[in-house]
């Protein structure tokens, strides 16, 4: 399988790798996927005044899964929550030119954003 340059770029130089304090009320954590399926994405966002000011990720998975997660951390930074929730897996797949067999990686990245936002909202509502 040959990879698009955008995948290689994000895979070899992943952006925003790391973790934030998951107990921080301003941090939302999304953990999606399953080890048995071969990919797990942990995506964290830090929100201030409705805007995502920081995003961090860690991913267990193939190059496409790592690149998809790295890419969305770049995309969501500076966006407000509504804008970030509107990111679609098709956009991720298109940017990275994912082959059909790897489309689930982009879906996982979309799910991770939604899960992180849901976690943040739940914390805020408490």
């Amino acid at each position: 399988m040959t990879y698009h340059n955008n995948i290689i770029d994000h895979y070899e130089n992943p952006r925003n790798v790391g973790s934030m304090d998951k107990l921080d009320p301003n941090v939302g954590t999304g953990l999606v996927g399953a080890p048995a399926c071969g990919d797990v994405v942990k995506l964290q966002i830090k929100v201030e005044n409705g805007v995502i000011v920081e995003a961090k990720f860690k991913t267990f998975g193939c190059g496409s899964a790592i690149a998809s997660s790295s890419l969305v951390t770049e995309w969501i930074k500076g966006k407000n929550i509504e804008e970030a929730s509107a990111i679609k897996n098709q956009e991720i797949a298109k940017y990275l030119a994912l082959p059909p067999v790897k489309l689930h990686c982009s879906m996982l990245a979309e799910d991770a954003i939604k899960a992180a936002i849901a976690d943040y909202k739940e914390k805020q509502s408490k």
């Binding site: 996927g33 071969g38 860690k58 790592i66």
Partner: protein, 419 residues
């Protein structure tokens, strides 16, 4: 670590080592230059058909084929008349299994095999099932070896054939052929063995092991692709029906004109393998020991798949917990290796061989097969080990699973959403 790896790579590049470094010797081997030299005349001046009996062109081609037949037979203690040349091990496996089943199928219709056999054996058997045969796919022990008691228990008075490979292509374990052969004799069952990964690499004697049919491939032993052989026992005689019909070449078992160039190369490769088997074995053992020790000294949670002792040491299949296989392959792209998980073949299913060993599906996703051979050097293996150590470190830093385990979280306690 990164710098060290880069400087090692530069050193290798300056001594003309070709990148990526080829560590996939189970998939195929580079052709030995001596073998290639042997083949060339049969592509140019000696172009006769080995089955032409009326002129010198045919005779010299036939001589080449018969000489190769001797060389191949010698390596497994067979009579040259028991060697049928084919296009490779896939054809040989099909010819052995289907050919035997079709000849004797009206008397006995049960076949026993292992769940860890090569895809082409399993697929041929699935095909026979559709034709009414019943097949037992035996599981294996955690170390990848057959359980002989279970094997014996699964034999019935309808059992025609036991098909068990010599060396597993994915995990390198060596099955106890002698004991299996003894069981087969005791119960009057034919014994077929796919010896493609063993032929020329470890000593195999078809008589000592009571093997009736054995499948062989040339390109696993530094010979050309597209040629192989099936050993078919003559005493007591084993009968098979051919897969296809034609001029009746190869004693009627495999019609079609042989390629003298490929066959001659195959013979030469077998001759070389016979003359330096111990040397080759010592060489891969040295590489295996060095690589395995260096990796396990520097990385935790690395697991060897398949038995450590009953093993062909040119194969080292490792699971690197919490780093996914396909991302490992991408990270170590200076090495040509294969994923134990079949992700790269785009099926996204982890290896059925590892699953049959009872390897957790999570761990099966983290497996890589490294293959060493005659032309692998210690410098290459040393570089490979350092690269793997560095990149597994990188991928684990990137892995949420690794982080959770470091925090003391039991991954099994988490309710993962399968997707």
């Amino acid at each position: 670590m990164e710098d060290l790896v880069q400087s090692q790579k530069n050193k290798l590049l300056s001594s003309n080592v070709r990148f990526p470094i080829y560590l996939d010797y189970q998939s195929t081997t580079p052709i030995d230059p001596i073998v290639l030299e042997e083949m060339i005349p049969y592509f140019s001046t000696k172009y006769g058909n080995p089955h032409s009996k009326s002129h010198v062109f045919g005779w010299e081609a036939e001589d080449a084929v018969e000489n190769a037949r001797d060389q191949v037979a010698k390596l497994i203690g067979a009579n040259p008349k028991e060697i049928v040349f084919t296009s490779g091990a896939t054809e040989s496996n099909n010819l052995a299994i289907k050919g035997l089943a079709k000849f004797y199928g009206d008397k006995k219709n049960h076949i026993i095999t292992l769940a860890t056999e090569h895809k082409c054996v399993l697929d041929a058997l699935r095909h026979l099932e559709q034709e009414g045969f019943s097949v037992t796919y035996l599981g294996v022990e955690k170390n990848g070896l057959v359980n002989l008691e279970e094997l014996e228990k699964s034999i019935t008075d309808k059992t025609l054939l036991i098909s068990i490979m010599a060396v597993n292509n994915e995990i390198g374990v060596i099955q106890p052929l002698e004991a299996i052969g003894a069981l087969c004799r005791k119960h009057d069952v034919f014994f077929h063995s796919d010896i493609a990964q063993a032929f020329g690499k470890i000593p195999i004697d078809v008589n000592k092991c009571n093997i009736d049919l054995a499948s062989i491939s040339a390109h696993k032993i530094y010979g050309p692709k597209g040629v192989g052989a099936l050993y078919v026992r003559r005493k007591p005689r084993v009968r098979i029906l051919p897969l296809f019909n034609g001029g009746g070449q190869e004693r009627g078992m495999r019609s079609g004109t042989l390629s003298p160039a490929l066959v001659a190369g195959f013979g030469k490769a077998a001759e070389i393998a016979a003359s330096r088997m111990q040397e080759d074995l010592d060489h891969v053992k040295k590489l295996f020991d060095y690589f395995y020790k260096k990796i396990t000294d520097n990385l935790t949670e690395v697991f060897l798949n398949g038995d450590l002792n009953a093993r062909y040491l040119g194969n080292i299949n490792l699971s690197f917990a919490y780093a996914e296989g396909e991302s490992i392959i991408l990270a170590i792209k200076d090495l040509a290796v294969s994923s134990g998980s079949a992700c790269t073949s785009s099926s996204l299913e982890p290896s059925y061989v590892l699953r049959a060993l009872g390897v957790d599906v999570e761990l099966a996703h983290t497996s890589i097969r490294f293959g060493f051979g005659r032309f692998t050097t210690m410098e290459e293996v040393d570089f490979a080990a350092d690269l793997v150590i560095s990149k597994i470190g990188f991928l684990r830093e990137l892995s949420p699973l690794w982080e959770m385990v470091q925090e003391g979280i039991d991954l099994k306690s988490i309710n993962w959403a399968a997707h």
